[in-house]
Symmetry: C2
Subunit: 337 residues, 2 copies
């Protein structure tokens, strides 16, 4: 089952605008050997996420940039296949930042044991992992939602957006999602129970958001930025709360984009806009994980994964995600469970 | 002393861009007579404030717009000269929204008794009035400042900015102000004790702010918006807090201005941007008023007023303020105290 070599994807060149396949390099090398106190992990599932784009640029953001030649950073779920530490045993399943490669070595300090009873292993990277925790804490803690709030979620069918919208529905909010295809809109309304959906690619977003939110927007969970966010800013309710989770529409621009100056709306509506990172809530992730796992078991929450097979297909899938082509949480299946 | 007629300024036409003198009309009419239950107030001091510009446009903001022909709205300190209610006696000094006119009638519901022992009457409109309370609550409650914070204040010599900067100094912050002339910069540094000042009219604001705030900006109290705010957004410290008090650079534009999309900085720095209005803290204004009055008496706080004489000069002074030509809290002296 396991290959006899380790295949990995490295950063070959820094993208100018959207990444190209030639910005990545597939390298095959011997499987690394764990030293004393280390473990060898075979990757099963690799998570592909928008934040990785930021780490490809020079200068870093909230974390250092990758250097050219580095393995692409990323979290994976894998199995301990060799252990030279008493901390982990062969066969255990862990979540670790081993990057885009089939095998990784770790001293255990950055590994989290995965509880397989909570759900399928892949969910430990998605709805029960970083993206689920981002949704749970970003929405419930940063947005301070109240039942009856009008909630807008951008990238609503994405890994984070689908969870935000479902939590909002569970707690009695009116939920409007934006997404980039009719399939996605149908999904969030018919499968996830959103009240309305707006296809930002073929609707006048400003008009559609105003029409969908006649009482104004109390909460906006923003994954995209750009014109969708502009439209929200013109339709805020008093005391609105905006969580800035991501700004994917801006990540692949060679030059910063111009947009209307609209901060004044925060003043007029006594509204708050707040950026956050999921790590801020690290000491409480277990709470969110257990709550979401319960909702899934109770049938109150669904999730959608978009699975690609094989490390060699990760770059194209990642580029597609940055263009909004994924449908649900994007994962690379690296080996059999 | 009192004139035998009431002179008032009305809104003649809605400004397109910066207001012009011809947008205002000076009307002379008989002094109004208070009805049963009402008082007649003779204005002593009239406050001119940027928010008035918003009320001149069509469609309103957080409050309804003025209609053409309406007396320009505004707060004044005046003396009760006739009373047909038991609530107020002739001779009492009140703060009331009687607008840009020499005499106003009120049923008392919108009047606040002024305590002359707290300071000169004019201060009831400035540092001990709406602008002082805006500074006190906007800074201390919205910005959540900590000693040692790097604090940037825009329009730092203005009615609100000068108070924000001085409170920040009292509590041990490092304070940088922006203003539009060397006189104003000299004033905030030499008289008010700011640590640094940046003249946005003749310095590269982005470079100057980065240089003045090497540890990043923890708190930004924004009165202006535009390029000063852009520069701050590129120099945020982690967990920065931004209070949006005003956006005067944007109030006189016929079309919304474009600026760089920079919300992503809130995400990277887990930062918060929040708009507020002074009315939100109305139930606590007395606390702020007494605290600031004490600081003034203790010599810990100064204030600067920019006084114009006579209602007929209010329109030009107001237009000048929107262009940043005032130096300190702008007041019109309407009659002798």
């Amino acid at each position: 089952m396991a290959s006899q070599s380790n295949r990995k994807i490295t950063l070959k060149s820094r993208p100018d605008g959207y990444p190209k396949l030639s910005d990545f390099e597939l390298i095959e090398e011997p499987i690394p050997q764990p030293g004393e106190g280390e473990v060898l992990i075979q990757s099963i599932w690799l998570s592909l996420d928008p934040y990785m784009r930021g780490r490809m640029r020079e200068g870093g953001t909230y974390a250092p940039s990758m250097e050219l030649g580095d393995v692409m950073i990323g979290s994976a779920i894998g199995r301990i296949v060799e252990s030279r530490t008493s901390l982990f045993s062969v066969g255990e399943i862990v979540d670790g930042a081993i990057g885009w490669q089939e095998y990784g070595v770790s001293d255990g300090s950055n590994l989290r044991r995965v509880d397989p009873s909570l759900g399928p292993l892949s969910t430990a990277l998605g709805i029960l992992g970083m993206t689920g925790m981002t949704a749970y804490f970003g929405f419930l803690h940063v947005c301070d939602p109240k039942p009856g709030d009008t909630v807008v979620v951008s990238a609503a069918s994405g890994a984070v957006g689908q969870v935000v919208g479902q939590i909002a529905k569970i707690m009695g909010c009116y939920v409007v999602g934006t997404a980039g295809s009719q399939d996605k809109i149908d999904y969030i309304i018919n499968e996830l129970g959103f009240d309305a959906g707006i296809n930002y690619r073929n609707e006048d977003v400003a008009q559609a958001i105003a029409a969908a939110c006649p009482l104004g927007i109390d909460v906006y969970f923003d994954n995209v930025g750009g014109p969708v966010t502009d439209a929200v800013m013109e339709n805020l309710a008093d005391f609105a709360r905006i969580a800035i989770c991501g700004q994917i529409s801006q990540y692949n621009l060679a030059e910063p984009e111009l947009g209307p100056r609209n901060i004044r709306n925060l003043n007029i509506h006594k509204a708050r806009m707040e950026g956050f990172l999921v790590f801020q809530f690290a000491d409480r992730h277990e709470e969110g994980r257990q709550r979401i796992a319960r909702w899934i078991k109770e049938g109150k929450m669904k999730y959608k994964e978009d699975v690609v097979e094989g490390i060699e297909n990760a770059p194209a899938a990642f580029i597609g995600m940055l263009r909004g082509e994924n449908f649900g949480k994007l994962l690379v299946k690296m080996s059999e469970e």
